[in-house]
């Protein structure tokens, strides 16, 4: 069957996350300007238990992993505020790859401590500070040495690396990307500069350097990295949809409210068409993302490809939509009092954010 409506449980989750997202929206401008979230905001999101609800009981959670559910929640979070959504979901970067590509032993050992009631900085390092970064051909290497792997390389955009208790570091093992569980303070691991990016100032991200960092072979996630990559593709796509939707809704309200030449801005055909196209592209990407998530959940053969197509669509969609969001507000769109400029800055990054969100 085809069906295009969240089930009851998902709808309840959407409603709850959506209420929380209002808090995020309210805090977003100041968070961006001061590069800090207000106390307790991220924690409050964590306590909603979105991640916990997608981890089986045996690993300490209280539900089953569903990419579709994750996608629905991610859109709502990003509708509030992208960096805060990423902050709340940072522990996902550690937990879900283990769930998707880890061994039974790894799951039992590493997942339960993370998904306790308190948000803790467990994170992951994928992106590298190089031209033509490719997650499937990493420059960071891991070389087997006896019972250990020795990891060397440079990473960037690692959320909360400074406070992380543990993280997954992705490295190239004979041409294949593999994740390794690395404890904070491992010898040879240096957390570097805080990244200063075009947006998401409150989401603290860092450079990372690894010089012959040694981890036991049992810390290697032996599963298929493509499953992790696909979970990142649909996650980012969902977040992009949330950001784009925020921008469209704001632009609609503005355009229906503001008068120009005797009519509302929205009554101008050119403006109305812009918004119609924004809505169409959002819906298009959302459909691709839902289908990809459903394929991941049902283990369809071409699920990874679908996830990739969704992400590809999302990158272009979010740029188009958030740019127009600013444009529809005209001069006001350029002022930081209105959030559309922030969403445009958010939107510009999705081509780069691979691995920053996993659902």
């Amino acid at each position: 069957m085809y069906s295009f409506e969240p089930n009851e449980e998902q709808q309840m989750l959407i409603d709850a996350v959506s209420r929380y997202a209002e808090d995020l929206r309210e805090a977003a401008e100041e968070a961006e300007e001061h590069a800090r979230f207000p106390e307790g905001l991220v924690e409050k999101g964590w306590e909603m238990g979105v991640l916990q609800a997608s981890i089986p009981e045996v690993y300490g959670g209280f539900g089953d992993y569903s990419s579709v559910t994750g996608v629905l929640a991610a859109e709502e979070l990003a509708y509030g505020d992208l960096p805060a959504a990423l902050a709340v979901m940072t522990p996902n970067l550690f937990v879900l790859p283990i769930l998707l590509a880890g061994s039974e032993v790894q799951k039992e050992r590493f997942i339960p401590p993370v998904i306790e009631m308190e948000w803790k900085a467990y994170t992951a390092a994928l992106i590298e500070p190089i031209f033509n970064f490719d997650p499937t051909e990493l420059k960071t290497t891991a070389v087997a040495d006896g019972d250990d792997f020795v990891i060397s390389g440079k990473k960037t955009y690692v959320p909360y690396a400074k406070d992380a208790e543990m993280m997954i570091v992705y490295a190239n093992v004979n041409g294949v990307t593999q994740g390794f569980i690395v404890p904070a303070g491992a010898e040879g691991l240096t957390v570097g500069e805080e990244n200063k990016l075009m947006s998401m100032h409150a989401l603290l991200q860092y450079d990372l350097e690894l010089v012959n960092v040694r981890v036991p072979a049992e810390n290697r996630l032996g599963g298929d990295f493509r499953a992790v990559l696909a979970a990142s593709h649909v996650g980012l796509a969902a977040l992009a949809i949330g950001v784009a939707k925020a921008s469209l809704d704001y632009a609609i309200n503005y355009a229906k409210d503001r008068e120009v030449f005797g009519v509302k801005v929205a009554q101008k055909q050119a403006m109305a068409f812009m918004m119609a196209e924004m809505a169409m592209e959002i819906e298009s990407t959302r459909m691709l993302t839902w289908e990809a998530a459903w394929k991941l959940d049902t283990e369809k053969e071409d699920a990874y490809k679908s996830a990739y197509l969704a992400a590809t669509s999302a990158i272009d969609m979010v740029m188009m939509v958030t740019d127009r969001g600013v444009q529809i507000l005209g001069g006001h769109g350029y002022i930081r009092e209105h959030p559309v400029e922030r969403w445009m800055r958010n939107g510009r990054g999705f081509a780069t954010f691979t691995g920053l969100a996993i659902v």
């Binding site: 085809y2 033509n132 493509r226 298009s284 998530a293 669509s313």
Partner: protein, 419 residues
């Protein structure tokens, strides 16, 4: 409810059957009927007529509900979804030929949606007859395209004979020649003509009339030479004191101060928009798959999963084409799913039409560019698909008209607020 993308079994079965039809009855003849514009593909027509009779389908319009077996579990309705799939795959075969599939098309659909039981009996039975039979819808006039309020065709009741006397000229009638001309191979068809019964009343005075083939005063005046979809005829029809029985009017014969009747017609258009979208997507998918096959033959691999910066230009194009075709299709599927589930889908229906109208031309043109000298040649069907695909952006409301509809629904504006 839940979120699910599994093709229902009956649809998958139908897809399989129609794929065979497309492969064997359409594709091999596509080029011939494109190059010989006004010849008629009787083999396809007869085959489809027999096939549909055999399957009890009779018409491509959504079927009336079967009597339900109280012992069987109730299944959600999938009529529109089925139809969208059928149209998509037949257009994947050949849009022009699909458009003259016997069974009544939009003409029969109008009777089915607005006719009385008696009218349905009288006018629709013929599609299950011995010979393939056609019906067509006559709406557009030379000065009334997107702006249907300007329709000037009129119907006057001759109270003596109790007949409607119709006058007017209709253009761009799809399959109008087949509906009106009594070929040896075909049964008696009809056209459904939109006309006003009260020119003062504006849209409230608009009605549709069934006009049978053979009615004196009705003439096919001109068969258009078109960019694409050449296997289907597009004609001008002139009505000069054409008389039809009183009971051939669809809907009320009196004028009230309401445009309900007309809005009903427009709602029919809303319902058909995702179906038109599906047709456009079928063509686009044909082009995409053709390119993928050729690239595979040439040993060109598309490396999905790679960041865009590391792709080749061709990889990027093919990936973008896939995104376009698939997303347009999913938006369309959602629109028909909503129709099946009686959810208001005006926004989604027009979205799907706009998307398909964009995607068809873009994808087919990209396909031509990728295949270079071969893509532009009439040796392959690619260039034809490009010509066929463009119609999706034009008929049943241009891309611009449909953007207006999307915008109105999105912004909550009436027509008067956003023109």
């Amino acid at each position: 409810m839940t979120i699910e993308f599994e093709t229902p079994k009956p649809i998958a079965q139908q897809q399989y059957v129609l794929k065979t039809v497309a492969d064997n009855m359409m594709r091999p003849y596509s080029r011939y009927f494109d190059e010989n514009e006004h010849e008629i593909p009787w083999d396809y027509i007869n085959f489809m007529h027999q096939a549909m009779k055999a399957s009890g389908a009779g018409s491509l319009a959504p079927k009336d509900k079967k009597k339900e077996d109280p012992n069987k579990p109730k299944r959600p309705p999938i009529g529109y979804q089925m139809l969208a799939h059928m149209l998509e795959i037949l257009s994947w075969g050949d849009t022009g030929m699909y458009l003259i599939t016997p069974g009544g098309g939009l003409g029969a659909a109008a009777v089915q949606s607005a006719g009385t039981t008696e009218q349905k009996k009288k006018f629709l039975a013929r599609f299950m007859g011995e010979k393939p039979t056609f019906a067509a819808m006559c709406m557009t006039e030379a000065d009334a395209g997107s702006d249907t309020s300007k329709i000037r065709a009129n119907a006057v009741l001759d109270e003596e004979s109790n007949e409607w006397v119709l006058n007017g000229e209709k253009i761009f009638v799809t399959a109008g020649d087949k509906a009106l001309t009594e070929y040896e191979e075909s049964g008696q068809g009809f056209i459904v003509v939109w006309a006003t019964i009260d020119p003062e009343a504006g849209r409230a005075g608009m009605r549709s009339f069934v006009v049978e083939a053979g009615t004196p005063g009705v003439k096919v005046m001109k068969m258009e030479h078109k960019l694409g979809i050449r296997a289907s005829d597009t004609v001008t029809i002139v009505l000069q004191d054409a008389r039809v029985p009183f009971e051939n009017i669809l809907g009320k014969s009196t004028v009230e101060k309401t445009t309900k009747g007309f809005k009903g017609a427009m709602a029919t258009f809303d319902a058909t928009r995702p179906l038109v979208a599906a047709m456009g997507i079928g063509v686009a998918r044909a082009a995409l798959e053709f390119v993928q096959e050729k690239l595979a033959e040439e040993g060109v691999e598309i490396r999905y999963g790679k960041p865009r910066n590391t792709l080749t230009s061709i990889e990027r194009d093919v990936i973008d084409m896939e995104v376009m075709v698939r997303s347009a299709w999913l938006v369309t599927l959602k629109a028909v799913w909503m129709a099946d589930n009686r959810k208001s889908n005006a926004l989604e229906a027009s979205m799907s039409k706009v998307k398909a109208g964009d995607v068809g031309p873009k994808v087919t043109q990209k396909a031509i560019e990728i295949l270079g000298p071969l893509g532009y040649s009439r040796e392959f069907l690619l260039e034809k698909w490009f010509r066929d695909a463009k119609i999706t952006d034009i008929y049943e409301g241009t891309g611009q008209i449909n953007r207006l509809v999307v915008a109105r629904n999105l912004l909550g504006y009436r027509g008067s607020q956003l023109r």
